[in-house]
Symmetry: C2
Subunit: 200 residues, 2 copies
Amino acid sequence: MSNPIEFYFDFSSPYAYFAALRIDELVAGFGREVAWKPTLLGVIMKTTGNTPLAAQPVKSEYCAKDWERLGRFMEVPWKLPDPFPIATQAAARAFYWLDDRDPTGARLFAKSAFATYFGEGRDISAPETVADIAAGLGVDGDELLSALADDEVKQRLRDEVAAAMEAGVCGSPYFIVDGEPFWGSDRLWMIKRWLKSGGW
Amino acid sequence: MSNPIEFYFDFSSPYAYFAALRIDELVAGFGREVAWKPTLLGVIMKTTGNTPLAAQPVKSEYCAKDWERLGRFMEVPWKLPDPFPIATQAAARAFYWLDDRDPTGARLFAKSAFATYFGEGRDISAPETVADIAAGLGVDGDELLSALADDEVKQRLRDEVAAAMEAGVCGSPYFIVDGEPFWGSDRLWMIKRWLKSGGW
């Protein structure tokens, strides 16, 4: 993949879910591809000084309404999961482990994980659930389950989170296109404009 | 004005500036009007637990880029002012004082204040500057200047900020349409969709 659109996201981010439903198709129209890069928003927020949504009750209530409306206006499944948010280490580790073996399969796994959590509202924090989702795509669930406990696999995710912070990622979804950052599912129109005009 | 679109904003909010350039025209197409309601984001943020942008260096840097790009993509003037952000009590008090006398003039004043601060990059925090901007629209600058120091005018703004918080306003720009909240200049498409479909 040469010069891909970098798509940083946390599996527990509703706005990333909405962006994930659109980004591949959007950039394909310009002959470009997307490098999906799950990261851990909680770790990033500690560094950037942003306040987690859960600590902002007024904003939380607004966002719940906004997500429901986005699902309705975009005509896509939406269910605010309970619990929300969740730890997404297992899903993110699974993604990178799959990505090294089968990039197309890894992308399908990511879409399936998002659909399970935000489409059906099912908790995907447990390694067993993550392995089940992957097994539904033909992956050996037991092999994945033991990989999720592997130190090298854990370190890989730490490295990816560090690289995301190094790249300036401060939220989810966060895109980098030709070195230019775009933050939020509401910036897809700007990415389109950027690709259409060659950056102007 | 019956059942107006409520437009809450802080004169020091770049995203409100961009929204202010579009909102009147957008809703006029649906036979609706906008009630402009300047508020004080600093006071609101203390209550909602949000972190001011200035305390988030990574986000600040991203936003500066995003604003410049919005100006370019929307083909409107943009200049990141110095100082930024500023106290906007004077501009907000002037707005409500004018609004009681001449609502159309108050709206023109608000647009002129935004254009001065974000279009030209000129500090509008001083009462004298605010009076100058109003004088450019035919308002008696000295009369406005003494009004800005009036306790009743100050109380009016406090009441408006309290009413905004009561209405759930947690950012800028923040719109309420038929009781439904929309937060951000990037939600104008949803307001349009709402008006077009009658809320569905």
